[in-house]
Amino acid sequence: MVDGQIPVEQYKTNNTKHKWDIKKLRSGHKILAEYNYKKRELQRGYANRTLYVNLSTRQIKEKPITEDMKKKFTGGRGFGLKLLWDSIKPTTRWNSEENELIITTGPLCGITQYPGSGKSLCLTISPSTNIICDSNVGGFFGPYLKFAGFDALEIQGKAKEDVVVVVDGEKAKITIETASKEETNSHLLNEQLTHMYATEDTDKSRQKISVVSTGTGAEHSWWGCLNFSFYDIRRKTPRMKQAGRGGLGTVLRDKKIKAIVAKVDKFTGVSNNPANPDTLTQVGTKLHKEIRDLDRHQCNMRTVGTGHLVEIMDAYDLLPTENYRFGSSPKASKIYSTEFYKLFTKIIPDGCWHGCTMACSKTVDGFTVMTGPYKGQKVTVDGPEYETIACGSNMSLWDPLWILEFNFYCDTYGLDTISTGTAIAFYMEMYEYDTLNKDRCDGLELRFGNAKAVLEFLHRIARGDKGDFIQVASKGVRRVKDWIIKNDWGDKQLVEDTGMESKGLEYSEYVTKESLAMQGGYGLTLKGPQHDEAWLIFMDMVNNAIPTFEDKAEALHYFPMWRTWFGLNGLCKLPWNDIEPANNAETDEPAKVPEHVQNYVDIQNAVTGWNVDKKELILQSERCYNWQRAMNVWMGRGRRKDDWIPYRSMGPATEKEYLSRKKRYDEQLVEKLGLSKKEVENMMVKEKIKILYDYRRDQYQKLADAVYYRRGWTPNGIPTPQKMKQLGMDDPKMLRMLQKKIDEDEKAGLNKWGGKYKKDEKPPSNDPRYWEKW
């Protein structure tokens, strides 16, 4: 296959082939509800309507999108937030009847000329955090949903038996159908449904189907992800991308949805009916050429995907190793991208949407499964991406094949690799301290590096094992922390400090100990510790480009807003800065990649016909970002205490960690805390840890102060009504709610800065109610 120029039909993966009895599968399909709609062309990126499906009442209807909604919420995740605000209550939880699962697109979603333009944005109330979780994902579903006629799909209620929801853009018909006979696990289910719903028995026809599904792991854990399929005409299999974070797959199965299917008859490069297709092709082709010429010298995304980050993170002490205790390992070279490169299939246009020439969606084809129900079968493993490989290092798994095995089963069982890997790494550290042990772990020997135990853990979750440990552990780090503390099995503070979750969601895979800004990038977020809001480690730690609290706060304003913008439009973030123009370093603000920012201004105008500039892009985001935070406040969270992060992400929590980087920490005690070298030499490690502990925790509070101020929030982290009005978000119900919460905070004495400021230091404002003077 390395030869290339092989006719599409002659590609081979050597995967185990399945022959499905489609007739038999179909016999389990009974139509519960049907809705016919009128086909109409998209207008400048918008379908101008959303689709509402209620599984309890079986109601299916269209909702119009108003110009006001576009102005305030832009699209994508913004539309999702508005739909949720109109449908849920502050008491809504993940398994409430009224909780919704929303899949949205965005006005730029589905263009093919600019790389990274096929993203769907999924929103729901997360089981892990009890607030909104938004997760973006590739695959064909988003574009097909829009080409079928809808900017968003909103699903409320619960079915009584397993169903599929079908959006048939060919027949202009929506159906809810029972689906009793299909598999549940994604790699098989997606294949079955793709074959079942394709109009003809051809690969071209199958490429016009996209399936959203999850797996049995999602049924029995809080880590359920959504698998979005994209049929690969060369591999002849529906590959998949994951909306991983926050348990969206868990919500899908709680609603008894086995899958959602979208189908289109035909689409072209201008199905979005852009205002100016020539600009789109010009800007898109310019980026294709940049990728062609520069990717091999920059990130090698086309050859190894995001896996190239492993060696970089290892080199900078940022690769999470043994539950984030360390940032590198002598063994790490075993899982560098060069090792996965040997396994990846080459020369296939590996974009998760058409036209994405970054092509980071690498796969290993013909992988022989080593354990579990599919043992011995040969399968396509989608990935691994950086985060999944880094879960390997975090669990101390240094064999690429075991990482592939972990990747394959997480995907097909519908488990988020990040939450699963981060949580297991924590359980392993607790196992090392005998806080957990074989007895407490239902017989599993969860020692660092025990790959077989990791896989057995996944299989037991997927089987719905009722053991105490499996039941608690499959709900994530936060629940296990509480369980350990309740049973008095370990040092409470150590448990709190080393379990890597914030807001109830597990961390993604970066060590943040030496970058205060990145600690904020994980903690001062809307949904929890995911790196999609800001990735500031190099700016902060390596280049020291944002030294002051004010600088860091500015970065923690701009970058989260900027990255939010991708989600409003249905775009991927990677083509923004994982490829850079050759002269980027010479520009005024290289971290922002100014030329690419202008590309995005140009393509949004080219599609929508608007005339916006780069400042307006940030404003679009700011409106939605603040709205989401306000909704968190409405739901009882979204305050300073909810933005707290475990100490392991701020500094060395244990002696082992301190000693592993002793020189660094000793020097900091001298340089940053003013101790003399002699004092430091004579101190016990425990004392030194304590001094750093107090210092770094206070630094984090001061960072939160600066960031809240920059974002126009109260000292307790609430977006002020004044800020909302400035942004044009004038919903009276929301403004009243925010004022009420602020008044409650005032009464409780919570409207005060969190940092301990010395005489020569100042909080962001002497007046903690500074916004009232606006």
């Binding site: 290339g4 120029q5 689409f267 072209t268 082709t285 050429k289 062609r292 190239h308 036209g355």
Partner: protein
């Protein structure tokens, strides 16, 4: 299907060219049913000093593996063919063509390219163009696939 071993590609004799651009007009007629030339022929003739230069696809086929929907194939006669009914207009082939010979006109979203049809050869009053048969093995190029290379 047995793979084609040879393909006809255009050969240019600059000394014979008088710069009349009849070839471009004939080519745009093939692709867009217009004699306008301009951005619509797959073949382009440029003046270089006192002489002329031809710019056209040489059927190396790197674009074949770039197409996400399999719209670009090597036909039985060896030429690299873009099926505009399958194409979804992503321009990946345009952006990645190492010699910029995959063309895009404002007239439609799908790109187009030389198909060695010979219309330009027939249109040239000076016999400056001819189709010559070459071995595919000698010209084929695959999109690179090694990190850093």
């Amino acid at each position: 299907m047995e793979k084609p071993k040879t393909v006809k590609i255009l050969k240019f004799h600059p000394k014979r060219c008088n710069g009349c651009l009849e070839c471009e007009k004939a080519c745009s007629m093939v692709h867009f049913k217009t004699k306008k030339g301009g951005e619509q022929p797959a073949i382009r003739i440029f003046k270089k000093g006192n002489s002329y230069q031809m710019h056209v696809c040489d059927q190396r086929g790197l674009c074949i593996d770039m197409c996400p929907v399999g719209a670009i194939t090597r036909k039985k006669n060896g030429i690299v063919w873009l099926d505009k009914n399958t194409c979804i207009g992503c321009q990946a082939c345009v952006g990645f063509c190492p010699i910029n010979a995959m063309r895009k006109s404002k007239a439609r979203i799908e790109p187009f390219k030389c198909i060695s049809c010979g219309a330009c050869v027939r249109a040239c009053p000076e016999n400056a163009l001819e189709l010559v048969e070459v071995k595919i093995a000698g010209i084929r190029e695959v999109v690179y696939h090694k990190p850093g290379v």
